[in-house]
Symmetry: C2
Subunit: 334 residues, 2 copies
């Protein structure tokens, strides 16, 4: 049996949610542990996770390698893999890439909407591609096995990252812009380059990424997945729900503005829709993964294809991505 | 063949020293990576070590478990295990114990000469034993597998730590005070309690800890080791040279004063002997471990006893000490 994996969640974590992960048969989740936080603040967030792991060892544990997906299945738990949605956690210090990888960071976005030290975000009017430091950090991420995630990056920066990275990258939570033209969704050019390089796209269930928002039906969502399988190849797609369960609206304000502005920024929202949007009726929490799986079968995907999309592809990607690039390591030592 | 292990060095690291480790057949070294540094500064030191590991992968690598001693022997390298000589690196945050253990910290002194947040140092006039936070941190160190090291602590604090710790502790670098009554050397009461609890003493070759200072002969040193074997049991002793090779005297000033005083503090030195003291002629660098080994045989210790002292005992202690205390972990989760 193939595992069930969600490549992006940022919930207001609780025992209830961990129990829902088990009820939904979710074997591994890539969770966002930090956005705009400094390194020290990120470590405080890791300390918070360590408390969860200590309190609920029968439900969750920290995942470091793809083998932990198997361990999760064997022991009836969910493996939690850490990720960052912005490079604030490495500050201006490339040495923190290896340190955070040692602490379990497995994905890092080069940008979150705005320009970062590394690349341009999808909300900037100018996208200058990878910066000087961006190219160095991508090489270091490649070396240690920290996945480049371009979910919130601009088009040129994303194409740059795909080209520069010596290992496949990920867009953990976004949908095709051809289906729903949101700034956060990705062009066919990006998706084709991503697939060609061996990368992965995780489909988002976040309403701002859905055609029709929260009114998008499960069939519409699953038909979009099936079409993208035709475009990218079924082996390059998975799930990355962007589930922000039980978060107060103050959190989406923090996600959008961090400390970069004193004004309000609505991000994907708007003045008349400033908070977290209501989720589609077919996906409220981790117990609903079975509904997506059933929906994918109903739009004509084969059991093998559905298993690959629901977790098999991410499991393969995790196995290929989280360890050191041994040959490169030796070259770097010359 | 048993391994050769040094339980304390703080050298001015260089390729030369790493090559001397290999020439001396040293399989594992506990290196001090931090004294008075904050958490962030300690991480910068780890980043510096990561650069060494990347530059000299054929000579050294970071050790995390006792199996890495075997790996070192099999691959002709030296496993480097991290330690701290003061708890400054955890600041006032018990959560940093687990974080630093994840980054590879395997020993932490509760004090460095002065009072800390955790205990009293051996240079304080009053020793109040473990503090409230000290008792909590010892329990957390026990839980994750970070060894309590009391080399620079006061008598009462050391006895407290031995009694409070649920796992054996270490005094990585000190000698018996009955042989040389330095403040840093340990009373027979401490040594007996240490041995009874399953702990380990590492014999120091640092001149201030030697009878006669740098003029101490190898025979005198080895006879002291043999007498301590009679006192503690040969299974509780090893080597912890306190080698501070190639360090400028500015470093011993930093070790002694950190940021706690604007005045000068001579620590174990004095106004007319302020710097690093000259080493004894029989121990200048890692290539001299064979001389100690030969010296121990010459004072009548058996080959089995010598092998235990030169590394076998530390290897057993590493194996017992560096992993999580599984049963306690579950109890803590209640």
């Amino acid at each position: 049996m193939t595992p069930r994996i969600d490549a992006l969640q940022y919930a207001n974590w609780s025992e209830k949610i961990f129990r829902q992960m088990r009820a939904g048969g979710v074997d591994a989740v890539h969770v966002t542990i930090t956005y705009h936080e400094t390194f020290r603040e990120t470590v405080l967030n890791i300390e918070g996770w360590n408390r969860w792991f200590e309190r609920f060892p029968d439900l969750i544990f920290q995942g470091f390698t793809a083998e932990d997906i198997d361990l999760a299945r064997q022991t009836g738990r969910t493996a939690i893999f850490f990720g960052s949605q912005n490079p604030s956690c490495i500050e201006d210090d490339i040495g923190l890439v290896e340190v955070l990888h040692r602490l379990g960071l497995r994905f890092m976005q080069l940008t979150y909407n705005n320009q970062s030290l590394l690349a341009s975000g999808c909300y900037e009017s100018e996208d200058t591609g990878l910066t000087r430091m961006g190219r160095e950090v991508v090489a270091e991420m490649n070396r240690v096995g920290l996945v480049v995630d371009m979910s919130h990056s601009g088009e040129r920066s994303t194409l740059d990252a795909i080209a520069q990275s010596t290992r496949p990258i990920a867009i953990t939570h976004a949908n095709p812009a051809s289906w729903h033209p949101a700034l956060r969704n990705k062009s066919e050019r990006v998706l084709a380059a991503l697939a060609e390089s061996g990368g992965m796209l995780g489909f988002s269930a976040y309403p701002h990424h859905l055609r029709g928002g929260g009114d998008c039906t499960l069939v519409e969502f699953c038909e979009m997945v099936a079409r993208t399988a035709d475009l990218m190849g079924v082996e390059h797609i998975g799930i990355g729900t962007d589930l922000c369960q039980d978060q107060p609206d103050s959190v989406v304000d923090w996600m959008r503005t961090g400390r970069w502005t004193k004004a309000r920024d609505y991000g994907e929202g708007s003045a008349d829709n400033p908070g977290f949007p209501p989720m589609p009726e077919w996906f409220h929490d981790n117990r609903d993964f079975g509904r997506i799986e059933a929906g994918l079968r109903e739009v004509g995907l084969s059991p093998t294809e559905v298993a690959a999309i629901m977790g098999g592809n991410w499991a393969r990607f995790f196995a290929d991505s989280f360890g050191p690039a041994q040959p490169l390591r030796r070259e770097a030592a010359q």
